[in-house]
Amino acid sequence: MNQWKNFSKGFIRENAVFVLFLGLCPTLGVTSTAINGLGMGLATTFVLFMSNIVVSLIKSLIPNKVRIPTYIVVIASFVTIVELTMQAYLPTLFEQLGLFIPLIVVNCVILGRAEAFASKNNLLTSAIDGLGMGLGFAFALTLLGAVREILGSGSLFGLKFIAGDGILLFILPPGAFLALGYLIVIMNKIKEKTT
């Protein structure tokens, strides 16, 4: 497989959020600002990348029937690692993301990739797939975060560019749904145009 294609598919064509509609809970839950979205996205990317590597490495050693539990353990371990390191070195971000860091475990994207991709492909391909899908996920989260932040508080990555407040609704829960809804429509249009 063309590795570049393999890597880039996660951004638009097979984007986990906009196209496959996976991992929606964190997508909505943490994207009140772009930086949160990016943080969450990168954390997920890390887990996805690492677990894809590990799964791909050990795939031939795992008896078929304990596949899923093994994957869960692997993924959960990486999640815990992320959790602990974030807590230690990025405490503010950790607080913002809160519940959704442990919930990376159940993010369908990760297990789905492990099961459907890494368990069938070689190390490099799996790693690149993990990286691509993860960064695509991060891209989606950052984009949504950016949109919400720009509309909601008139700033981007914390830099304010309008005086006063934005449209508050967008940083509140309803805004997450609305912004994502319209983003999906726009992304669909883009996808249609490009393919």
Binding site: K65, V66, R67, I68, P69
Partner: protein
């Protein structure tokens, strides 16, 4: 070793083991091992999820293909033989080929041919107009022209020709899924065998009324005179209920029938102009035919107004030269 690590290892191993055992049993109980070939088969299916195969989705069809021992009754009309061959390859089986079909509209009652006798003022759907009355002409068999068939086609393979007010099938887009056949309340559309270069000869009428009545209502109606039946060298034409029908299986595209039809209701489509073909054949026929030929061509092109079709016409013409 550090005690926390020890406890960690012990607890997690314990929990992990317990969980794993449970999950193991679950796996054994539930996860009927999915045949990986299902995925492969699904890959080659067109993913149109149109239901043309009779299954709710392509994946379900893939499952059915893998699970069943033969291909009997299993055919993807959208992918056609090509796809079925691929599937057969994956499954290591003999492919069944099915002659490719294409939808054909068997009515040529454009306003020029079929006088309008009333104005329909109800909802724009053939189903309702059909239930209400004969439609805007007096032909109770003819196309109503409200495009239920076009609406039903999920492949954009049909459109209503604004000039003739008749639906047109774009041959290379049509997958023979049969949705239009289902949709037409008058059973005008038929799935017919696809011939090379999309050539077709068929009786473009389904009117079963007596000749005089039929003719009064539509100039290009089949009046059941039987001339074509007599002229067909292959016994491909049958006459029933005042209506001729060309059996596509038997028809060899010899084009003898269409010139003899007094109402021009036999259409030839995508054939090169008569002269070319005729050259090597009986000269007499050519001479006779030349009088009617224009008409035939006219009615043919009238139905196939689309640019695509006429382009094709040209192509096949030039290639024949």
């Amino acid at each position: 070793m550090n005690s926390t690590i020890l406890i960690t290892v012990i607890t997690l191993s314990a929990i992990g083991m317990a969980a794993a055992l449970i999950l193991y049993f679950v796996a054994r109980k539930f996860r009927v091992h999915e045949d990986p070939r299902i995925d492969e088969v699904e890959e080659v299916l067109p993913a149109a999820n149109c239901g043309g195969c009779g299954y709710p989705g392509c994946r379900n069809f893939a499952e059915a293909l893998v699970k069943s021992d033969s291909f009997e009754g299993l055919f993807c009309p959208v992918g056609g033989n090509e796809v079925m061959a691929k599937v057969a390859e994956i499954l290591g089986r003999e492919a069944v080929t099915q002659a490719p079909l294409v939808a054909v509209v068997r009515c040529n009652g454009s306003p020029g041919h079929r006088p309008k006798t009333s104005v329909y003022d109800g909802p724009v759907t053939c189903a309702i107009a059909h239930a209400l009355y004969t439609g805007e002409s007096d032909c109770p068999y003819g196309c109503l022209g409200y495009g239920d068939c076009v609406e039903a086609c999920t492949f954009d393979a049909m459109y209503m020709d604004p000039k003739t007010n008749l639906p047109v099938v774009i041959d290379n887009k049509c997958t023979a899924c049969g949705a239009c056949v289902e949709a037409c309340p008058r059973d005008i559309i038929e799935l017919r065998k696809k011939n090379p270069k999309d050539r077709k000869i068929f009786v473009c009428c389904i009117n079963e009324e007596k000749g005089a009545v039929a003719r009064k209502n539509c100039k290009v109606a089949c009046i059941g005179c039987g001339a074509c039946v007599k002229v067909c060298p292959f016994d491909a034409i049958t006459l029933e209920n005042n209506l001729a029908y060309i059996d596509a299986e038997k028809c060899r595209l010899c084009r003898k029938c269409s010139p003899v039809c007094p109402t021009n209701s036999i259409l030839e489509i995508n054939f090169p102009e008569k002269k070319m073909v005729v050259k090597g054949q009986e000269k007499k026929d050519a001479k006779e035919g030349s009088g009617k030929e224009e008409k035939v061509a006219a009615s043919g092109s009238e139905q196939k107004e689309s640019g695509e079709e006429s382009k094709k016409d040209k192509e096949s013409n030039s290639s024949n030269k």
